[in-house]
């Protein structure tokens, strides 16, 4: 079976199932056959009654009807099983298609988009939302076939049997429809309100659980418990209101869709007609067998609408991701000439979506920096100055709003992503390790590296020794129980990866946290090996490490305010000198219990 991925981003449940449309149509068709066969099986029973009630029952004829009924049951049953396995197959295929399409698309959108929405949210979309579609495709599509076929076919059969009783049964329909409409009508808006309340309660729960650790060091948790309780009360209140609005129709719907009310009405009218002598028993039997099925057929519509709502929400979120424009790729890719970086008059502001209230102003304003190959440039400045933003523009986490960033004389927008990524390496403070062997983790930098090359890189990154001490050496799974790696060790593994990758430009987000002294020294050695002979751009959180940088660029509120070498900047007495002074002050700080004048904050 051919399953085609999308031409345009899907927006709803039906659009999103397009790649497996064939199978879904098949599943619906099979379930239609199944529903018809099920009714046929029942319709074989009244003729048996006719025979048995006749003065001289034809035994052979009876067995023929019994056999026909049996055959219809077998058909109904087989097609039902096939319908479900077809729809499940479609659903499984769709899951794979969607996950692959999504992850492929994610590989093409700006990295900035990914960091903005976060890996947690992506996980939710790729795993949970795709899964919510499963319920729709696998379970609902066969139901749809049945839900529509059963009433139509049964009604036809009933009208053929007796049109008067047919109308009586038909009267059940509008009543049922009214309640369905009532229940579904309130559903959409109330559901949204309820969903919001539900989301909120989940947030509070998360907060309560996460914060408990902290809270417990302050009191027994009574104040945060009060918060928790308040939100809970509100939630229950909203749920109650929702229930108030829907419960009468909901309850009536539940009760009336039981077979008995219909069956009773049909029996009363049928009995009356038989007393009049205008109805024969076998015809009444048709109604007794089929009419309960009529209301039963509506039940799935309730379930169905739940599934469809659920999957629509998921489909929408998936659609939003797929609609995210990919990073434009050049028509004629160019290749950098050398490892120099030119930042030319770059302005940048975050799109409306990414911007937090504080970031609505331009993040960078006409920044120009010339970074020669094999030099060290440090970006310095208070938090929010734009250091990280600037560093991230180089590998096109986002594209600049104005100006250009060039590597080796070529605009980064004129290179393919692969070229760019093979020129620039990142070493971030939050280390990324696969749940895989240490070897494969390092190899990620260059998949075709030999084991010897991997070990050489690890050696240079000061990681070889501790790796050998792990239970399975290089084949130890990173992060597996019992092999918890320390932050410093993880960092050295990522550095080994970057060393193996051997890209000419290194963007380094220096760690803010202090590792323990021994680890710190090792990390420093590792970084030293990594940066040798490379163009280095370092986001500096601590000043001493960059004291001998070739160029220190001081940013403040998106502008370059100073640049130069350490000594020049210190004597210039500007922002850098100020930061440096603070640094020295912080360095000399010692914690003492009695050093300051005693101030008491006991109750006033």
């Amino acid at each position: 079976m051919t399953d085609q991925p999308y031409t345009t981003p899907p927006t709803g449940s039906w659009a999103i199932v397009a790649p497996v449309k064939g199978k879904i149509v098949g599943a619906i068709a099979l379930s239609v056959i199944s529903a018809i066969a099920a009714i046929a099986a029942l319709l074989a029973i009244p003729p048996i009654a006719t025979e048995l009630l006749s003065t001289s029952p034809d035994l052979d004829q009876i067995w023929v009807w019994v056999a026909m009924s049996a055959i219809a049951v077998v058909i109904s049953f087989t097609t039902k099983v096939f319908a479900f396995s077809t729809s499940h197959l479609a659903a499984f295929n769709l899951e794979v298609i969607l996950r692959t399409t999504l992850t492929e698309h994610l590989a093409k959108v700006p990295l900035g988009y990914i960091t903005t929405i976060g890996s947690g949210a992506i996980k939710k979309i790729v795993q949970d939302d795709v899964k919510s579609l499963h319920a729709f495709v696998a379970d609902s599509t066969p139901l749809i076939g049945r839900a529509y076929t059963t009433p139509v076919v049964s009604l036809i059969a009933m009208f053929v049997a007796d049109w008067r009783l047919g109308f009586v049964t038909l009267a059940v329909l509008p009543v049922g429809m009214i309640f369905i409409q009532l229940a579904l009508h309130d559903y959409a808006e109330k559901r949204e309100e309820y969903d919001r309340a539900n989301e909120q309660i989940n947030q509070v729960v998360v907060e309560f659980v996460q914060g408990m650790q902290v809270v417990r060091t302050f009191d027994d948790g009574s104040s945060s418990f009060a918060r928790f309780q308040r939100s809970l009360d509100r939630f229950t209140q909203i749920t109650r209101e929702w229930n108030e609005a829907t419960q009468t129709s909901g309850r009536l719907g539940t009760l009336l869709f039981e077979p008995l009310p219909t069956l009773t009405i049909v029996s009363i009218v049928g009995a009356w007609l038989m007393l009049q002598g205008t109805l024969e028993f076998p015809r009444l039997l048709v109604f007794l067998l089929l009419s309960p099925r009529l209301c039963g057929a509506f039940k799935p519509i309730f379930t169905l609408s739940y599934f469809i709502n659920q999957s629509n929400a998921g489909a929408k979120r998936i659609g939003v991701v797929l609609a995210e424009p990919i990073l434009p790729q050049p028509g004629r890719p160019k290749y950098p000439q050398d490892a120099s970086v030119q930042i030319k008059d770059v302005s940048f502001s975050y799109g409306v979506r990414e911007a937090s209230p504080q970031e609505s102003r331009p993040a960078l304003h006409r920044v120009s920096i010339d970074i020669p190959a094999e030099s060290v440039t440090a970006l310095v400045g208070p938090s929010g100055a734009g250091k990280t933003t600037l560093a991230r523009l180089i590998p096109r986490f986002w594209d600049v709003s104005n100006g250009a960033i060039e590597i080796g004389g070529v605009d980064v927008r004129d290179m393919t992503s692969e070229t760019l990524m093979s020129w620039v390496s990142f070493v971030f403070q939050d280390t990324f390790l696969l749940y895989d062997t240490i070897r494969n983790n390092i190899k990620l930098g260059r998949p075709n590296a030999t084991d010897a090359e991997v070990e050489a890189a690890a050696q240079v990154a000061q990681a070889h020794e501790f790796i050998l001490e792990l239970p399975d050496g290089y084949d130890t799974i990173a992060g597996e129980r019992g092999t918890r790696l320390s932050g410093g060790q993880r960092q050295r593994i990522t550095i080994a990866r970057a060393i193996l990758q051997d890209n000419p430009i290194i963007v380094l987000d220096e760690a803010t946290a202090f590792a323990d002294p021994e680890n710190e020294a090792l990390i420093q050695q590792a970084i030293a090996s990594l940066t040798t002979g490379k163009t280095v751009i370092v986001i500096a959180h601590r000043l001493p490490t960059i004291r001998s940088a070739d160029q220190i660029v001081v940013l403040d509120q998106g502008n370059v305010v100073e640049s130069g070498k350490h000594d020049e900047l210190v004597s210039a007495n500007g922002l850098y000198a100020n930061l440096w002074k603070r640094h020295e002050e912080a360095q000399n700080w010692q914690l003492r219990t009695r050093s300051v004048e005693i101030r008491n904050f006991a109750p006033l």
């Binding site: 067995w63 499984f92 947690g120 009191d219 009773t264 990524m421 219990t593």
Partner: protein, 580 residues
Amino acid sequence: MLKTYRRVFSVAGSYEPQLKIALLLSVIASIVQGIIFALFFPLLSALMTSPIQPQTVWILLGMMGVLVLVEGMLRWKELDFAWDTSNDVAHETRLRLGEQLRRIPLEELNRRRSGDLNVVLSGNVSEIVLWIGSLCTLIIQTIVVPITIILVTLFIDWRLAIALLVSFPFAIPIYRYFRTLMGKALRDVTAVDAEVASRVVEYTQGLPVLRATQQVGQQAQRLQEALSVQRSVQSTAQQLSNLPAIALSTLVEVGIFLVLALGTFLIVQGTLTVPTLFALLVIALRFSEPLAQLTGLLSVFDLMESGLERIEAVMNIAPLPVSPPAAHLTHSDITFEQVSFRYADQIEWTLQDVSFQLPERTLTALVGTSGSGKTTIARLISRYADVQRGTIKLGGVDVRSLTPEELLQHISVVFQDVYLFDDTIRNNIRFGRSTASDADVEAASRAANCHEFISRLPHGYETTVGEIGGALSGGERQRISIARAILKDASIVLLDEPTSALDTESEVAVQRALDQLVSNKTVVVIAHRLSTVVGADRILVLDQGQIVEQGTHAELMEKGDRYSSLWQAQQQSRQWRIAA
């Protein structure tokens, strides 16, 4: 089965009577329903006798109508639980879980923090507790109605009753059997789903590296691998989960054909009347459908049961015992007497035979590599968990004889990671002492060096943390948490290197705030940067859960051993420069 029954009621909590009533109503309504169905026997007989006796027919139909109304009313009443009470049950369950959260030992809290507790408190509870009522009554209905009908049939024609029996009571054991088969498959599905989820996270985080080497999309080997495993495990599970449904439906259909064939045979023999057979067919068809749906219901029920189990597991965590008589803290010196400790899920000891005594109002630094036990010592002072051997005393009193309220009232902790609630800044600070006045809060934040920046926020102290979110820098958050601790004014202060993750700019401000916090307190600080604690009254150097050295900075430097080599290493790395 009994266990499930007990569990269902334990979750209903104080609403147990209502649940019992709902279930009882459901049983009665189902019996009534069974009787209504049974009325089809006399009704059809009456309709097929010629001439038809109108009186008999109308009496029977009248009885039917009345009973249908009675059943409807019973069900209406029964739905009270599903529509109204179940919300109250969910509410109460969450409150009880919340209460429990305040009592369980911090170690347990930490172990379950990431996923379990969230799931139990939010998703599971709302989804499971809400369904208890409707689920139980549906199951009752599916089981009780057929039983009633079979019993009635027994009186009318025992042979047909037996034919019905073939289909019905066997259904449950057969279902159970297939379910055990399914159980494993479903667990596999859960496992691969989790695997795919973690690979997706991996993939997303690794994209900068993966893109460079073009290991993306179809080429993302690890991800594609997981996806195809997921696909095949799902298919297997699907085939398996079809089995019980197929088995049950087959059984039910076979049962009905058995009745039809046997009935026809008996009629031909002349030992059965025609109306009885067709009444039975009409009835049997009615409960065959719900019975076929039983598989779905029971699997939801299984889900519910596993949810209940998890709720129970959380509720069953015992709080740390307080041995009487409950004591009061009057002093703040800290004593460890031959303390050994290991975490609940570990084999190795984290602390071994640790003894020390910290006098009141002194500053003690804990120094050592990660994993040496520094954090554990700080945690144990606030009774994170109970030690396996030895004693920890505060002010001469064993921590195990202090109530949590008493103990925590005397301890402030400032962590590296600051947790702020999505509430106003003022309330966040007030967490330190809920009775504090606005003036107290402001005084504390002045002391913590954060009054100034708070005043600059859009709504000052009334700004909510959520509304400015990431706009607070690490240093600012840290200072708010210090203001909290200053307001609390506890005599013991535990610091987990609160300045280690800050940039230079924030560091100075936080340092000043800390100066205010620790003055005149008994302080224990976990130190990464040794220069910070040069002035400590005592430095404890830890290695693999043991104290290897202790003394003042000068003493330890003179000794020239472990501490002094750490010091050297740190001095050296301070000299380090990045170079190309």
